[in-house]
């Protein structure tokens, strides 16, 4: 992949890594991570951790104070059909959010989980 294409993927993570087309957001879902409490945050890059620990919630109000949340975006490329999942880990604090980590899985690591929604 050329340098410009790599840069494009860094700044446009919703662009397809196969054909560089802008992907559609197929689904969005909010989760909480009850094992992650404020002051005890540990960075995880492994998809398995999220598959096993995320609990589906409908809104931020359902998440108790001090518990981390995770927003999931499921992308699908309208041109080549490639799928990708973006996870955004954050601490909800009243009306604000403290961002912790942004993860991007485009090798199918989260596909089964996303399909089970």
């Amino acid at each position: 992949m050329g340098f410009l294409r790599k840069m494009r993927n860094v700044f446009h993570d919703d662009w397809c890594s196969k054909c560089q087309s802008e992907m559609d957001v197929a689904r969005k879902q909010l989760y909480m991570l009850p094992n992650m409490r404020v002051g005890h945050y540990v960075q995880h890059d492994d998809a398995k951790f999220y598959r096993e620990n995320m609990i589906k919630v409908d809104s931020k109000q359902e998440i108790p104070p001090g518990i981390y949340a995770c927003g999931m975006h499921v992308y699908r490329c309208p041109v080549c059909g490639h799928k990708a999942v973006k996870l955004s880990v954050f601490l909800p604090v009243r009306d604000a959010e403290k961002q912790e980590q942004l993860l991007y899985f485009d090798k199918g690591e989260m596909d089964d989980f996303a399909n089970s929604l």
Binding site: R37, V38, G39, P64, P65, G66, I67, L91, V93, R94, A96, K98
Partner: protein, 193 residues
């Protein structure tokens, strides 16, 4: 330990000993040095000895003693069947909540030889103070804490403290507010038991 015992946030004897023992030691050593006209190694010991002693005294009797007493309290609570569901160690006091049995244990830094265990129902009010001053883009804080009233005694537990002011949306302030919100919910939950 009596569960209806009145809380004492500080122990005057401990504070006086903490502050004045090294000062008295310095005064005595310097007096001996001046009166007895000591020379050589003894003179060096009389001049620098009390200064080293004072530094060690204030350091060892400060945070390390508080940490040791906190660990001892945790051990004793475990032995007494207290479920330590939530522990919050702050600079001024340590709060441990047993949500299952609706109990609270607290140890104050300035009264480190005595900890209190009492029913959470003795708490009459809980709230969060985000320390916000200023408005708009000038809004900021240097301290976030959660507070509660036990028999009318206000106990403040800092979740964040700094010697400079931070914007209200800064990660330090957000984390402090989140911790304080969580502890208030934990305390309210324990009160409900």
């Amino acid at each position: 330990m009596a569960e209806n015992e009145k809380l004492k946030k500080s122990n005057l004897v401990y504070i006086l000993v903490y502050i004045f023992v090294p000062i008295i030691a310095i005064v005595i050593c310097y007096y001996i040095y001046a009166v007895a006209e000591v020379i050589g190694a003894a003179a060096v010991a009389l001049i620098f000895g009390p200064l080293v002693f004072a530094a060690l005294w204030w350091v060892i009797l400060g945070k390390p003693l508080y940490s040791m007493r906190t660990k001892k309290m945790e051990k004793e609570l475990d032995g007494a069947g207290f479920s330590r569901n939530h522990t919050f160690v702050a600079d001024g006091c340590t709060v441990i909540v047993d949500q299952e049995n609706g109990k609270l244990a607290i140890l104050f830094r300035w009264n480190p030889f005595r900890y209190y265990v009492f029913p959470a129902s003795r708490i009459s009010k809980t709230w969060v103070n985000d320390g916000k001053t200023g408005t708009g883009i000038f809004a900021g804080s240097s301290r976030v804490s959660f507070l509660f009233l036990v028999d009318g005694i206000k106990i403040r537990v800092n979740t964040f403290i700094s010697n400079r002011r931070w914007a209200m949306d800064h990660k330090y302030i957000l984390e402090g507010i989140s911790k304080a919100d969580m502890m208030v919910e934990v305390l309210n939950d324990a009160r409900g038991n």
